[in-house]
Structure formats: C-alpha cells, structure tokens
Symmetry: C2
C-alpha cells in the first residue's frame, strides 16, 4: 500500500461526488463529530439538519472541519479533510442560498421530512422548517491509498 497526497483539482472532483461526510465542531476545546448528508457546490458544502448540539456549538464557534471518505477496501481509499466556516441560512436574508440548498438536497429532504415531523410530534414542538446551513471551504488536503487488496465484493 502506498499513500500519496491529492492535488486540489483531485480533491474538488471527489468533493463534487460526495453526498455524505463527517462534520466536526468544537466548543471550549471539546470536539464533537457527527455524520451528515451534504452536497458540495462552488466552494461550499450545503447541509440539511435538525436543531441540536452541533448547531448550538457552531453558532458559538463557526470553525469546523469536514472529512470525506471514499473507501473501496482497506488498502484503496481516499480521504479529504476540509477546514471551513459555518454559515446558517435563515429566511429572509438567505432566501436565494436556501433555495439553492433545498434544490441540491432535494432527495435528502424527502427522507428527512417525515422524521422531522415525527420528532416534533414526540417532543410537542410546533412544526418547524428544516434548518439549512453551509460550510465555506477554506482549505483542504487529500490522501489516496493504493494497494493490492482484493475488491471488497470478492473478500
């Protein structure tokens, strides 16, 4: 297995295909990482989210890190690590960006809306809109491992 650095162009191609990643935020130097569905477009990750700890923390400290895997098997994978900044997309200031996020995340929205509705029903909250935010990508690094492992389907 050899491990090599990816170019920025190679990173961009991989980010463009990604629909899932891991988002880390931090408060008082306690890190917190969760999986997120996301879409990358023109220097931003767009994310659909419920309210919760990550939103509360990113409102207080907008510095985040996003990591994207593309794993074939243990010896053949890429990993991209992005440093970025949290930006919430509330109405009405971000109507345009929010519509763009909604379009990018349309498929995701169809899965999430029933779950959101049920969570609200259980918690007794009023029905609220899903929360959209985006991450401005400030820097990224990528690694690619290449090896001789058999494809996982044949393992």
């Amino acid at each position: 297995m050899t491990i090599n650095q990816l170019t920025q162009d190679e990173c961009n191609v991989i980010l463009g295909r990604a629909s899932f990643g891991h988002l880390a935020c931090s408060l008082d130097d306690q890190p917190y990482v969760v999986p997120v569905f996301l879409e990358y477009d023109a220097g931003y990750f767009y994310v659909l989210s419920t309210q919760g700890q990550k939103i509360e923390w990113m409102r207080q400290n907008p510095k985040v890190c996003v990591q994207i895997d593309a794993i074939k098997n243990e010896e053949n994978w890429t990993s991209i690590v992005v440093n970025g900044t949290y930006q919430e997309l509330p109405e009405p200031q971000y109507t345009h960006e929010r519509a763009h996020a909604r379009k990018l995340l349309e498929k995701r929205l169809r899965w999430w809306e029933p779950a959101l509705a049920e969570r609200q029903l259980k918690s007794g909250q009023d029905i609220i809109d899903p929360l959209f935010f985006r991450i401005h990508v400030e820097s990224m690094t990528g690694l690619r491992a290449s090896g001789e492992a058999k494809p996982s389907a044949a393992a």
Copy 2:
C-alpha cells in the same frame, strides 16, 4: 423513518463490532476529524497511527470525540458518539497495554507496516515503531434510524 435513542448496552454491542470510526480532536477551538481503524475493549478504543497533526494536537488537548456509523441505507442506520480522553501508549511504561493493542489491531498492523516503511523511506526518517494510543470512553449516546428503504444491494 423513525429515530430512537439507543441504550448504553446497545451502544456497547455496536462498539464491540466496530473496526472503523471517525476521531475528532481540537486545538484552540479549531476542530480536526480523521478516519481511524480502531478496536473497542473494556471501555477503551485502541488505535494504531502514524505521527502527524492529530497526535500533536491530542498531546496538547486530550479531549476527543469518536463517532461510529453502522449504515445499511439512508433510512436504516445507527450512529454512536463518544466523548473520551486520549492516552498514548509508549514503551516502557505501557508495555502491557501496548501488547494488548497490538493483539487487537494485529490484522491492521499487517496492512500498515509496509505503508509506514514506505513513508519513512520517502521522508528519510529512521524506521520507527508504529504509534499506539487508546481513548478512554467517558460518555456515549447512540441513535438508530429505522425506515422502509430497500436494502442498498437492491437499490
């Protein structure tokens, strides 16, 4: 899709089966997240690592977060988020713990050693032993989503 909280026992079962996760650390409230191969045993995650940013950061701030996914498809998944503390396992103070880590991570070690050797060759470093550390699990929460999506194999 419904989302429910997992019990501590359910979390423990899932951690016991995990061999891959995402580790977040933080320095000056800049989070950093990377994928790691790991093994869980008796309240600790054991990890095999090269030197690098995450090690430097965790030495300065041992507060970490580990997240474990088990994903069947978009509507059927579990996610466990663990808060813990970094503990390095150098010789000779941690000979016993290091041997335990080596045994748990044996399979992983066979993949990593050639990559480590090559990285050292390229960087001109002397051959060094792989670095072992463990994460003491201090608290964890888990969620399970259950839905009606078809298994991904049939998608």
